[in-house]
């Protein structure tokens, strides 16, 4: 009896310690080596044990990858909540959105969180790609460059599929237009059928998009995301550290910084979502598009390009962009300056020059296409999109020849294409009814 009580007393006294052992097995004490901490924790396992201090500085990465990952985490979390109140059925989807937005306590917050995080993820992933590209950090990390590229495309796919779900006018017509763009590629008719589940957007389409959006694409993205992180370790950490630089342990130097960025991103998103009012347009009308009908901003440049020519703007331009990005590690084989943003002053001058020139030329081309009365004889060949593509190839050749560097040539070409994207985005914002151009201060006619 007394022995039983004694043992019970010991057990109770040792309870906090036992509890600690359950959740943090193998921890011996405060002077536990930091490497042991990393080895023990599954999440920390994704980190290397040691990192080079230069890769820890903010300007080395701008923490863009981590921001993207944080936003993805927020998207998964808020998406789960949204799934609980949403039905992918054309009869009910819009009512679900109305309830979510205006009746369910906290519904507007979760919807805003999901939407803002999605926009933020597109921005961060895009900037991350640009940072890696202009730092030539794809060198000796080719596989991870492709993982990253696939992740960006998956992000765009998730945005696209999620866009239909509210089933309002905007959603319906944006997806209609994008699906019609497939008709310009070979085999597109079949692809369009596979995507839409029928000749037109309807109940089948909504279920397909929903399944893609909540199951298939996030699963792929999550899988690739872990491969992406794993490759960083396998490739010996981030690019750009000096080889002889003394490395520091990942715990705490890296992990604490990550924790801080994570918290700041979450904080920013929570505050913004609480203040932001997410728009919900009128319900979808399959027989009458709004006027004007605009794509989401990150596809607006594509819509503008497509309004010049479906083939040149909708197929060739994005195709060229993706092809250049995919070919980059094969074209550029130089090893100097890897991991530093536009490391050579010469390159910086060339890229900035090409960007500025492209802005000017692009503005002139746009002006010509908006104000010029007569359509050119071959509108699929002669339009602002093809003009910018020609300029980008020209930049590739001229810059490459003059500097003798393939890398700088490709950078110049990319700078031109970026200018085109930026410019088309701005023009797209200025389009009014019937896709006519209006300055921001001009009034749109009632249409």
């Amino acid at each position: 009896m007394s022995r039983f009580l004694a043992e019970l007393g010991d057990a109770l006294r040792a309870f906090p310690e036992s509890l600690r052992r359950v959740f943090r097995p193998g921890v011996s004490g405060p002077d536990d080596p930091s490497s042991a901490r990393l080895r023990r924790n599954l999440l920390f396992h994704l980190h290397p044990l040691k990192v080079r201090p230069r890769t820890l500085t903010f300007s080395a990465t701008f923490a863009l990858g981590l921001c993207t990952a944080t936003l993805f985490f927020l998207l998964l979390l808020s998406g789960l909540f949204l799934m609980m109140v949403y039905t992918p059925d054309p009869q009910r989807a819009y009512a679900c959105m109305q309830d979510l937005q205006w009746a369910i306590p906290g519904g507007a917050f979760f919807r805003a969180l999901h939407r803002l995080a999605a926009h933020g993820m597109v921005v961060c992933a895009g900037l991350h790609l640009l940072r890696v590209m202009f730092a030539a950090a794809y060198r000796r990390r080719e596989l991870n460059w492709f993982f990253g590229l696939s992740l960006l495309l998956l992000t765009a796919g998730l945005s696209f599929t999620g866009y239909l779900l509210p089933w309002d006018q905007r959603a319906f017509w944006a997806v209609n237009v994008s699906a019609s763009m497939l008709e310009n590629v070979p085999g597109g008719e079949t692809l369009r059928g596979l995507l839409l589940g029928g000749p037109d957007i309807g109940a089948d389409t909504l279920v397909r998009f929903y399944t893609l959006h909540v199951a298939l694409l996030p699963a792929l993205l999550a899988g690739l995301f872990f491969l992406h992180l794993w490759r960083i370790r396998k490739d010996g950490g981030l690019a750009g550290g000096e080889a002889q630089e003394a490395s520091v342990p990942a715990w705490p130097d890296l992990v604490l910084r990550e924790a801080l960025v994570f918290l700041l991103v979450v904080l920013a998103l929570v505050v913004l979502s609480a203040l932001h009012d997410t728009p919900l347009g009128p319900p979808a009308d399959p027989h009458r598009p709004d006027n004007p009908e605009k794509a989401p901003w990150y596809f607006l440049w594509l819509q503008e390009a497509v309004s010049h020519s479906a083939v040149a703007g909708g197929v060739v331009l994005p195709g060229l962009l993706i092809a250049l990005l995919a070919l980059l590690p094969f074209l550029d084989r130089g090893d100097e300056g890897v991991g530093r943003l536009l490391s050579s002053p010469l390159g910086r001058r060339w890229a900035c020059g090409a960007f500025a020139l492209a802005l000017a030329v692009g503005a002139a081309l746009q002006w010509w296409s908006i104000a010029g009365g007569d359509a050119p004889a071959h509108p699929d060949l002669l339009n602002p999109s093809s003009g910018m593509m020609a300029l980008s190839l020209l930049a590739l050749l001229v810059c490459g020849m003059r500097t003798g560097s393939v890398r700088l040539g490709v950078f110049c070409a990319m700078a031109v294409l970026l200018a085109a994207v930026l410019l088309f985005l701005v023009t797209g914002l200025c389009r009014g009814p019937e896709w006519r151009f209006f300055w921001p201060w001009e009034e749109w006619p009632v249409a």
Binding site: Q98, Q101, W102, A103, R257, V271, V446
Partner: protein, 326 residues
Amino acid sequence: MPKPSIPGRSLRIAIAVAAGALLLALIAVAWRALDPPWRDIQRKAYPADPPGVVEIAACAGTLDRCATCHADHDAPLGPPRCRAAETLQAQHPPGRFGCSACHGGTARALSPEIAHRMPGTREKDPLLTPPHLEASCGRCHVPARRPGMERLYAGAMKFLELGCLLCHPLEKQGRGSWDFGPDLRALGRLSPRYLGDALLEPTKNFAGSSMPSFAPALADDPAALEALVIFLESLALPRPRECNQRIRADGLLALSCGACHAGEGGAARGAFAHRCDYILHNASRFSCRACHEKTVPAGSSDACPLLSQERKNCAVCHDEPAGGRP
């Protein structure tokens, strides 16, 4: 005794601050979610037993939550006494139709600023109140001479008389030679003031408008102007899909006949117009049913019963039954 410097001390402080701020932000969000404005209203009105969200599964598949704040019109919270109650309540009990069927608004919403607006409005507009409330009759009924919708009917007749259809298509009924004005059903809700301006002085709202001014016909006739504005408002209201079929079929005939048969410019020259100017100029006194007995079932693509079967009624006015002039 000086402590050995802990690695990342400033980082840890920053993390603590960020985490604290996040906690505060989340508490604020939760607070707001837990305390929507309608709760406050209910606490004042029913201190003992607040009913929570009240939903009415109204006609046409809408879910009407207005009663959450505006309980019965007799309750302390109610809006100014619902005037439809006296005249139309027998046919339209608020318990079955909800408030939004007549007053508009976004019935599913629980926040006042959204609930009191139509989805997709161009400008802030309040709910429909008399006399503009009549516009709502047009959601389910097509204008007819019935008690309660006299103005709407007068507006519809004015609409036909002025030849608005020549430029402004109404879905399938747009059939003028120059119908390139905006579709009035797709414009979204505009305020009565805006619509009035658009009729009298079209360039006031939009400088580039090519619409002619209808001031000569309407400026001296405020009643007609008001009626026409009410009819225009009714066009922009959403049309419930599952309205009582009988009501729609009945009313549809009255408008769709006029839409085709008013003729170009209201002058009875159209191929299908009745050639009698007397009828056209007194359109409001006649319903199509006066002569044409056959009605069109709602949803049928047969828009028009052919004249030949109804000629027997011509004798009401004409000496010869074949349609010749008396």
